[in-house]
Symmetry: C3
Subunit: 187 residues, 3 copies
């Protein structure tokens, strides 16, 4: 009799637990992501002659800089606003699946390094919603990790890490970033 | 005897669990917020003539822009710093309950879209502490979701989603945003 | 017999639980941090004469401002980019253990207040990785809390609160911030 009651207690306990721990999918002991995605985005900086194609522009610069040429000293102090197409492969002319929107700001005199605040904004049949990013981007490293600090829509409450890789660049006008997004909190 | 021991085990287990899962209040399976709040904030942009009333100012602009008029092409490239009063209703002249402080940066040529980084700062008997936000704000949409990326004081470690709605605007000098904050992690 | 089976159920339950709750170390009921660290960082603002030593520069300013002197009205509208050395003690000349990189933007006319977006970037034998911060910094308060919104490397997925204290300042060229970092989510 008591044994039966204890079994009942276990089942009640189990059902209680399945509610209280439903919550975000976490695979943390192992650091295995709950969602992984790869995207490319393409940045064409305004240089005074490419207004039609440009997807970004310098909007802040140090005393010694200007707004049509990235400044010397590794662009220290240049603030760039962007609205870049996101593609699934590394082709600038592929159909965009979303837009990367936000800013970067070069913040070091000795080497290329930037600080990024931006979002991936999706509004297609495949993805609706946004992923928000922030972090340091030491451009000269082959891979750089920044934080996924939140998300909305399909990416509601997401957290994780995004690994950036410079996939290509042409002078100081075009660059393409591969972005490997790994979410470790999925709701 | 064994039955009793198993009951004891269950109770020990239960008390252990109540500690290990105490943690943040999460209602995630259902996506029910642990805290909901509605605020309004009011932005009056400096236009060269309203220094006394202005709560925000253009501090960065693209090569073709300036700092007393929002730029053409949907203000692309304009960076605006703000310190806006927060009210509980939609009246600019209601007693402020806090300040919305940070920046927005228009980041698209085709339509009005901005990227936001800001905080709600409270220091009243009702609320002490701050809520930090980041995300994309496609202004032309009736509602836009951004992320609550953290909080301090009464909003310690908060995470969630804030829904912005343009409640009113007058030309390019005044706008009012309704902000529905829904926290899904409360500590 | 049934008693034994119920004991077995408990053990299965226990081992199941130890997996599902492995996840991030949280000590939340008590708000006890899972990791605490203290650092200092040192900001030397470019003033037109100190290019060699300066670690930061004004890159955005309101219409009435310029880029070699912080603006009147409590610097409202000045956007400053920085790459500051981080030290373990309050001596500017101590060996840096990392760099504080990002921006602050003065956002209030009446008193000194700024909004911060930055990272601590470490690449030493002691720490590798980055900690990302965002939040309001009401400078005149003795202590100010901002959010740790994410981390990478050794600080993978970190969340928490950082308390800033102005440890020293010299005119409008140098200041030193003590930063007490308390993480409440450690992976």
């Amino acid at each position: 009799m008591e044994a039966k009651r204890s079994l009942l207690a276990i089942f009640l306990l189990l059902s209680f637990l399945s509610i209280s721990t439903a919550a975000p999918t976490r695979k943390t002991g192992t650091r295995k992501p709950c969602k992984s995605m790869v995207f490319y985005f393409h940045d064409i900086i305004y240089n005074g002659h490419n207004a039609k194609n440009a997807t970004s522009a310098i909007v802040g610069s140090p005393q010694w800089g200007n707004k049509t040429i990235l400044t010397g000293q590794n662009h220290f102090g240049d603030l760039v606003v962007f609205d870049d197409p996101i593609t699934l492969d590394n082709n600038l002319h592929s159909k965009p699946v979303g837009r990367a929107q936000g800013f970067y700001i070069y913040d070091k005199k000795d080497i290329f390094t930037a600080w990024l605040g931006f979002s991936f904004v999706f509004n297609s049949t495949q993805h609706k919603g946004s992923i928000n990013f922030a972090g340091a981007d030491p451009l000269m490293n082959k891979t750089r990790d920044i934080s996924v600090i939140g998300g909305t829509g399909d990416f509601f409450m997401a957290r994780g890490v995004a690994t950036l890789m410079t996939d290509a660049f042409e002078g100081e006008v075009y660059f393409r970033l591969r972005t490997d997004i790994n979410l470790f909190e999925c709701w």
